[in-house]
Amino acid sequence: MAKLTIDTLTKHFGSVVAVDRINIEVEDGEFVCILGPSGCGKSTALRMIAGFEHPTEGDIRIDDSSIVAIPPNKRPTAMVFQKYTLWPHMTVYENIAFGLKLRGTADATVRRTVEEGLELVGLSGYEKRYPSQLSGGQQQRVALARAIVLEPKILLLDEPFSSLDALLRVRLREELKRIQRRLGITTLFVTHDQEEALSLSDRIAVMREGQIEQLADPSTVYARPRSLFVADFIGDMNLFEATTDAEGIRLGSSLLRDSGGVEVDRKVTVAVRPEELVPAATGVPPEETWEIAVEQTMDLGHYLKLLGELTGVGPVKIYLPKSAHANVVKGRVRVTPTRYLIYSNADAPVEVVKRPHVVAR
Amino acid sequence: MRRIYFALPLLSVVLMIAVSGAVFARGASEAGSDERTVVDVMIASDTNIFDWYADHLKPLFEAANPEYELNLVHTGAEGAGGNGPIADRAYAALQTGNDPIVSYFETWNPLEPIGALDDGLWLEINEDNVPNISNAIDAVLAGSTGFDVPYRGSQVILAYNADRLLEILVERGEVAAGTTEVPEEFVPSTFPELMEWVQEFPGEFTYPRPDTTGAGRNFVTRAILQANDLNQDVFTVEAYAQRFGTGELSREDIDAINDEFYAGAWEMLNEIEPYLYDDGAYPSGAAAVTRLLTDEVITMITIWSDQALQAKSLGLLPPNTRFIQLADLPMVGGYASSAIPTNATNLEGALALANFLLSSDAQESVVRVIGGFPAVSWDTLPAELQEDFNDVITDDVPSFGGVWIGAAIEGWYTNVAPEIER
């Protein structure tokens, strides 16, 4: 169907660089999320693709032909906005039919297409309602239907669920994924919600200050964040300041023997996912385990979340299977990382995977 | 909004108290100690009149009458409420025998407050208490109730730009280039001559709508007088009341008045209309018509004498602007009158002031400073003053009963104005 190429796309607003030479290729039928904090330029990038902003530099191509010079109303893209998406003076039917009618589609076809669209988003029978008579979630579904009935080559979504409550957000997310899979439509989705990005995307582009920090599939982004920013932004992560010496990596009084080849006498940041901190086996030398003073234990149903302090280093969070609760003795637990990442400079981190025998069950 | 409406009367009450307070305070501090006694003068007129009193009349009066000191109170100032409340207070004081704390009303109509004149609030003016009243001209006394002191007047006159008129005449070859004075035959001096002049110089004259300013109204009434053989006796208040009563004008009355008294005037005014500036685009208000003269759009207009003289002295009019007083019968004007309560705090001082205002010195100031008309004969004023104001001098200021004006305005609008081509 369609491939979207974003080529060194740049946007300046006066002296502010909103989008700074980004490159993304979205393959046919692929679902790509642009994820980043507010103000990182992700919406601007999307608006350039839709045609509402003109790039300062760079190119946007659909199936290898540039669309930069095409006005938004003639682009083969369709967009779902964050809010105020439906025209309040039109019924649901009129909202969805508007774009079709502009294209000169025959009335009968319009009627059938609108019905199909509504069916797809689960709102059959809502044709005569006005937007003000719909809930927020229903409105966004209509907006989605309005976009997809036009059979765009590229579907663009700009934080479409961010103004909805959490439960509804999860439901619509699943629904969107189902529809996108069914239609096989090439989709670019902008969000600041990492959970949303992880659960929806084939690939995630993490943006920061106008640039893409990492573009990869969700598990790679999660397991090997390319930068400290990504590490911190995606999922929960323990970050510890440390230094390397001849024996390994020093964190306060603790030691990590494997410094992954990082030079000695360097300041580094060690990143450990909370679920990759496990109770230390008895045979591990004490200096290689971390003693954590547990300050708070939260039972999150299928696992425990411990908040504590790594002595002399800083706060730490740990996810433990419930069965491991016995390891917490008098408010203290000794843990050891099964895997950690070492960030020593701007380059990609060094990954260290420890031998599985240290894991105590 | 509601709060403001509520506050306004409150504010004027506060100001009233403040004004009386000031008068009281001054009276108390100086009454015993001073060899000069104070005369409280209430001035409700515009700021220019108050300033004139403060800057000119007060020094003149106090120099001539060292035993008195004038205390000027500007009741015409914004929010001060005018002379009405002061007159009410004087009337109340008369009935209770208290001190009214006022001696002189700069302008006041002694027919108000109702009943006050009958109850003896206002002092009858005669040659015994104000000797200079004998200097007042007949036109002034004719409009007086006998309980007031008319002392400054103004009148509608004609003003023309002599340089512009000369230019036109030179262009037409009527006079040689370089002529500096307009030959007399091109300056109208009577109403019929004015009518002819207007037709001879199309587009060079206009008068404002009669309902917007006296400069228009008194030109229209002058035309009416012209059409009635200059007989002012026809248009008195008494004659009107006898014939038409005192109620609202009915359609029939208006038609009757127009048919009987005004038709001739409308004929005259319609005759000149095509020759007026902009084919009879009668300007609205004194300022609009004066602008036509000051911006040199046209040559001749009607204008109030005091505004004309003041504008000229301020250099607002074209440098060679001249004034014309119609010789057959001037246009209508009016006089401002002072009044003195019989229970005045300082009656002697008030009478001295009244007499002073009709003196040659004060009357000269009326002419020179505020551009007003003297209430006394020009003959009693310095010869030099007469020369300076030769153009406007007249002792004849006709009157036209106010009650007749409504029908005139109605008649003018239905008979003169609508014929404008639009």
């Binding site: 109303n73 976009a147 | 004008l249």
Partner: protein, 265 residues
């Protein structure tokens, strides 16, 4: 409120509809309207007033809509001075406006002098003393409120609604007529009725600009009252003005109420 507005209004309407018979009893009659409209200038002046009003309201809308549209959607620096200029007349009293226009557009005014000194052209005909003068003055006075109301109305149309229309394929014209205009219909209605009321009852500008006759009704009524002293006619004129204004005012109130209800306020 009722005491200050409804009561005197009702009293005036009642007054004009009744007359006292010879025997002292009050009877219902349209006499005062009949005699009023027998005045030679009552009807022509009414038509004149309505004509001036319609023309002024139309010009105001045609002039101010593009300005409001520009102010709503422009991101350029120029919109700051444009906004200032559009709102400026609000701070100028009517009487000052009238005299400024006379100086500006009148005979030997600035325009005529500038045209003459630039081109030597002497054919300038001043509109000041013509009905056009009234229209110019009233338009000048009406610009700020018109621009304000329309800009406010346009601001209530979120950018996203316009962009989503562009996105589904609407061109500029379609966006305007199908998306923007339907959503600001009420603001347009409010501006039209508000301007109608303001212009229909205008006093200062028609008094100072325009010719002596025909007169606008506010001026005509005042003239009847102060100039001629016909209280009954003035009152009848006032009631006629009041009824026309009240009819238009009803439209205004309905627009405002509808808008509130639609917003769920």
């Amino acid at each position: 409120m009722a005491l200050l507005i409804v009561y005197p209004a009702a009293l005036s309407v009642f007054d004009t509809l009744t007359a006292t018979s010879a025997d002292g009893s009050t009877r219902f009659t349209l006499e005062s309207y009949v005699t009023f409209f027998q005045l030679p200038d009552a009807l022509p002046n009414l038509w004149f007033t309505l004509r001036i009003t319609v023309v002024t309201v139309t010009i105001l809308f045609a002039l101010c809509f593009p300005i409001a549209y520009y102010l709503r959607f422009s991101t350029s620096q120029l919109s700051v001075p444009v906004r200032f200029l559009a709102l400026f007349p609000m701070f100028v009293p009517g009487i000052v406006t009238a005299f400024a226009l006379i100086r500006f557009l009148g005979d030997n005014g600035w325009i005529e002098n500038i045209l003459f000194s630039l081109t030597g052209w002497e054919g300038w005909v001043s509109p000041i003393a013509k009905p056009q003068g009234i229209v110019i003055g009233l338009v000048w006075e009406g610009v700020p409120v018109t621009v304000l109301v329309l800009t406010a109305g346009l601001s209530q149309v979120p950018n996203h609604l316009i962009e989503s229309a562009r996105d589904v394929g609407a061109n500029g014209r379609q966006v305007f007529f199908r998306i923007i205009f339907p959503q600001i219909r009420r603001s347009v209605m409010i501006v039209l009725t508000l301007n109608f009321l303001g212009v229909f009852g205008a006093f200062t500008i028609p008094l100072l600009l325009g010719g002596a006759s025909p007169q606008m009704y506010g001026h005509y009524m005042a003239n009847r009252l102060y100039g001629i002293g016909q209280y009954t006619h003035a009152q009848t004129a006032a009631v006629i003005m009041f009824l026309i204004s009240a009819a238009v005012g009803t439209l205004y109130v309905r627009s405002v109420v509808n808008q509130r209800m639609e917003k769920g306020e």
